[in-house]
């Protein structure tokens, strides 16, 4: 493990997760800490992701850092056939930190081996997006006051959803989590994750119906069920309205329940949920800025 990069959620220990949580709370309470004064951060977006880029750039600006980079590789030398190796080598001469998003899986790990400065993975294809997981955890700890004994319901596409896989891995470090997986049969949680939970002696339950079983939930983590995931469109038609959260379903749920979603949502959370105090997905996005400030400060040893 290289302690100064954040490439995969498993790069961090439980202690480091806790440290990020503390720092994020500190930045939320005191957002004006210009710890990056005089420093340059490169944000290299080899594929566009406006949401993630704005969150990182806001975090860097709040810390007083300068930003260089590109928002889409079509406007950079990358289209002229420059290798990732050469781009990273060049940029690591200019910047104190690299934040990168790239469509190819493993690109961020490779960049961290080439770079002379720390690298934060802001998404490498379908592989990892660890800052999303840390902001999800910060949202859980903020709303539940703990990361222990959480009954976590994950709903939707559990097969391809990298956010649910990373969150599962991270939460497995804490005491007595209960995992409830609600997914159509085509998109159930992959075996490797279930076997991982078994090997750690952790409880999980699988459901195909999205019903009043959510009454026990502390957190409901919603994800999008995408049409492209179904080889047969008929199968998609059968389930497309099954995994939608509506306000009336929340009637008998716990008071401390909060609903998370990595955003953007399409229709999997009905807009009638938005005004329910249990809806937390917009605050969750704001937590991303504090969490990313915390990650940057931690990796650069600024605090």
């Amino acid at each position: 493990m290289n302690a100064q990069n954040l490439i995969s959620i498993t790069d961090f220990s439980k202690e480091e997760y806790m440290r990020i949580m503390e720092l994020a709370a500190d930045f939320e309470a005191n957002p004006d800490q210009r710890l990056l004064d005089g420093k340059v951060v490169a944000t290299l977006f080899f594929e566009p992701s406006t949401r993630t880029r704005l969150s990182f750039e806001t975090a860097i600006n709040r810390l007083g850092g300068e930003i260089i980079g590109f928002t889409d590789s079509s406007s950079s030398s990358v289209t002229k056939g420059e290798s990732l190796h050469d781009t990273i080598k060049m940029v690591s001469n200019y910047a104190d930190l690299i934040v990168m998003r790239h469509p190819l899986e493993g690109s961020a790990r490779y960049a961290s081996e080439v770079s002379d400065v720390p690298v934060i993975n802001a998404g490498d294809g379908a592989n990892q997006h660890p800052t999303q997981t840390l902001l999800d955890m910060y949202s859980i700890v903020k709303t539940q006051e703990t990361l222990d004994n959480i009954n976590l319901f994950m709903v939707g596409d559990l097969k391809y959803g990298r956010t649910v896989h990373s969150l599962l891995m991270a939460m497995s470090h804490f005491d007595n989590p209960i995992f409830n997986f609600i997914a159509p049969p085509e998109l159930t949680m992959p075996n490797e994750y279930k076997m991982y939970l078994q090997s750690k002696g952790l409880r999980y339950f699988e459901h195909t119906e999205f019903t009043d079983i959510i009454s026990e939930a502390d957190i409901i983590y919603m994800t999008r069920v995408q049409k492209e995931r179904f080889p047969d469109p008929v199968d998609y038609e059968k389930v497309k309205n099954v995994y939608i959260l509506r306000n009336k379903m929340l009637k008998h749920t716990k008071d401390n329940l909060r609903i998370l979603h990595p955003l953007p949502r399409v229709n999997e959370i009905h807009t009638d949920v938005d005004s329910n105090p249990k809806a937390y997905y917009f605050e969750q996005a704001r937590n991303g800025v504090y969490t990313r400030m915390a990650i940057i400060a931690h990796l650069l040893n600024l605090k």
């Binding site: 190819l104 899986e105 493993g106 690109s107 294809g125 379908a126 592989n127």
Partner: protein, 150 residues
């Protein structure tokens, strides 16, 4: 013609035995024997009690280090090495799949950076029988039936 004449004896060097016939040329390529200046002889489809048919390679004047030879375990998991000195077998060694594999196999994931940039692959061996390799970069698992040797 007598069987043992198929592959002639060597004075000193290494005999690699129990190679599956389908893996013979992969073993030659992994060990870069095609570039070797010493005499290399090989035979394919020899009778074997252990396997359906087997291949054997004899390399004159070459002695392999364990680490170097374990690379072939991916394609020839039961291969045996006999070190020959003065026409006598002085040492026997059965290959072993190492815990990490560098640049022998390809990652099965077409979206992996190793299949798109000119870089060496790097795997953690998470299962030895059947072989399963976890890519150090994309973190996907390549199973034995998906394995492609470079």
């Amino acid at each position: 013609m007598k069987k043992q004449l198929n592959v002639s004896a060597i004075k000193q060097g290494t005999v690699i035995d129990h190679i599956p016939t389908t893996a013979l040329f992969k073993v030659i390529s992994i060990l870069k024997l095609d570039e070797c200046k010493d005499m290399v002889t090989f035979g394919n489809n020899l009778d074997s009690n252990v396997m359906e048919g087997k291949a054997i390679i004899k390399v004159e004047n070459r002695f392999f280090k364990d680490k170097e030879i374990n690379k072939i375990a991916l394609v020839a998991p039961h291969a045996k090495l006999n070190t020959i000195k003065d026409y006598e077998v002085v040492e026997k060694y059965v290959v072993e799949i190492p815990d990490e594999i560098q640049d022998i196999a390809r990652c099965f994931n077409p979206k992996c950076i190793t299949n798109n940039e000119n870089i060496d692959t790097h795997f953690e061996v998470i299962s030895k029988s059947p072989v399963a390799l976890k890519c150090h970069y994309c973190e996907k698992i390549t199973h034995q039936d998906q394995m492609d040797i470079k």
